[in-house]
Amino acid sequence: MTDSILGVSDLIAAAAGETCADGYRRIAVTEVEWQALARGCAEGRHDLLALWVDGKRVRIALRDPGTSLRAIVSLDCAGDRYPAIGCFHAPAIRLERAMRDLYGCVPDGLADDRPWLDHGVGPAFGNSSAQGQFYRFLPAEGEGLHQIPVGPVHAGIIEPGHFRFTANGETIVRLEQRFGYTHKGVEALLAGGAIDKAARLAARISGDSTVAYSFAFARAVESICGVEIPQRARLLRGIMAELERISHHISDFGAICNDASVVTINAHCALLRERLLQMADRCFGHRLMMDRIVPGGVVRDLADDDARALRHLLEETAASFANTVRVYDESPSLLDRTVSTGIVTKDLARRFAAGGFVGRASGRDFDSRRDAAYTPYDSLSFTVPTRQRGDVDARAWIRAEETAASIDMILHMLDRLVPGPIRAGSLTPQPGEAAALVEAFRGDVFVTVRLDEQGEVAHCHARDPSWFQWPLLEAAIEGNIVADFPLCNKSFNCSYSGPDL
């Protein structure tokens, strides 16, 4: 029994109870079942969607990729210890290290005892064991190896993080990341606050995915309160989410080319993005569409002439970006940099349940808009592009193909817009718990919310897609040259602020 393996579908079949309104079964398990589920993760029976601690219980969200069944499994952690998932399933390691720092729940058996978010400074972590300690990077030993420390302050206009390269000449033999620099204590701030305040915080967990985070937070709260939002609000949410996606896909496509020294394409893409942001500002009153989605609906309606202008711009953007992608495809010197660079293997993408273009460029055919369908996507037909090669080129192509698909989606949603209310009549907070999965531009964002008796947020955890993508960058860069790191990194474009919480 101690070495048994349990799949989440089998657990659900055997457990009593009903699936909750948010699509998850909630099951409390024993330590033995917990460990069997951990082995199930490692064996590929199910994907690990998230791991968090709430009220002295450690929880994992699991999804069976075959049946799409989802469950949130919890284990008592009253003694501040629980059996580690990370010793069976590597993708859990950083999550468990972060939760140990935040809540003091110690994952028993986890070999890596280094703190993650706790850098040993400031009052947030109490009597931190990291105080005055140097962070131990994993050793890489061999003849001719040298280290290149980079960050936390980087050369470009990007977020802070530390990259420790070990190289042999030009070739990288190991990359180890160290993050937590932008840790802002988001979970502590979310707890105990009103829903409105929490919504504004959720919108700022990772600014580039502000629409997706607001969308996920709103869906979770609406699920608890049993609120149905009006049809027009559903479509406006979809339009904003897709607008956010294409604005990033286009600019990142350009930035990838820029890191391969083709600045012309970057300038072109940056211009397309700027026009989209100006249009977002015109249509929704904010360039990044921050705080536009709130529990109960959306705060700003789309005027008819703005909708026409948006349609016109999207048609132009589609043609212009298609031409840009063609230029990319016809530039051998550019393809020479991107093809076969920074490969993520299919197996790793599957094990880490890597979302978004990182997963889909490595054959992981998952998109929460389709596979955990939510409104308005449940009534839209769209293609989810996948590629098999897993290199920088494949990730760039997924971006390009998704942009075209998203533009079609927005045009289709604009067609279906009919006048009507944009917010549900009233949102009466009630105690309860719900989770939501929303496809941000870089992958699926998982948000779980618990409301207390006063209708305030008792706990909220948001798992950024980057949690499961950053470790793959460490793997992808191995054997590549140092000069290709910016290119690989840009092809991932992971968030720092999102996973730093």
Partner: protein, 181 residues
């Protein structure tokens, strides 16, 4: 690629072919900032951006300053890779405890004369993260700040206006005093 470049050549620069309000403002503001910068610092002003804990929203808008619509490099204003090359530190985010030391070291590495601009509501007063134990405080709690640019995030045009205000002040500290009053 040839047709691509040919089109770019025939159509001319985006910034002049789109006489929209935002573009026109961008050009006007960037030009006047450039002239003042030249008076003070020769023909260029170098800016080092430091994310001291932001949600990355501010970074998106600061990056946009380099797109063909705002194109601040035309005026001799540029973002540099090292604080040792910088005249201005453009700091975003509430300063997290985990970034405090890195920010102080970046400031120490910047040669005099230097200015600090705090961009965004978080940099000015920690924004929605104001009560967090993980945040050491706004930028002004760590470094002498010469100018605050409000916004969440501030649009690129506002950041340009802010840099202009910095150049307008005979003394950076005076601008700060005005901004606070």
């Amino acid at each position: 690629m040839r047709s691509f470049l040919f089109n770019a050549l025939v159509k001319g620069p985006a910034v002049t072919s789109r006489p929209q309000e935002a573009s026109a403002m961008a050009e006007e503001v960037a030009r006047s900032l450039g002239e003042r910068a030249r008076l003070r610092l020769g023909r260029s002003l170098s800016i080092r951006e430091v994310d001291a804990g932001s949600c990355n929203g501010c970074e998106l808008e600061i990056n946009a300053l380099s797109n063909p619509v705002y194109d601040i490099e035309r005026f001799g204003l540029k973002f540099v890779a090292s604080p040792r090359h910088a005249d201005v530190l453009l700091v975003t985010g509430p300063v997290t405890w985990n970034m405090k030391q890195a920010l102080e070291r970046t400031y120490a590495a910047t040669p005099n004369p230097k200015w600090v601009v705090a961009a965004g509501d978080c940099a000015a007063g920690c924004g929605v993260f104001a009560d967090s134990k993980a945040c050491a405080g706004p930028v002004s709690a760590i470094l002498p700040v010469d100018l605050h640019i409000p916004g969440c995030p501030p649009p690129p045009i506002e950041i340009l206006k802010g840099l202009l205000a910095l150049m307008d002040g005979a003394d950076g500290r005076q601008v700060l005093a005005e901004a606070r009053s």
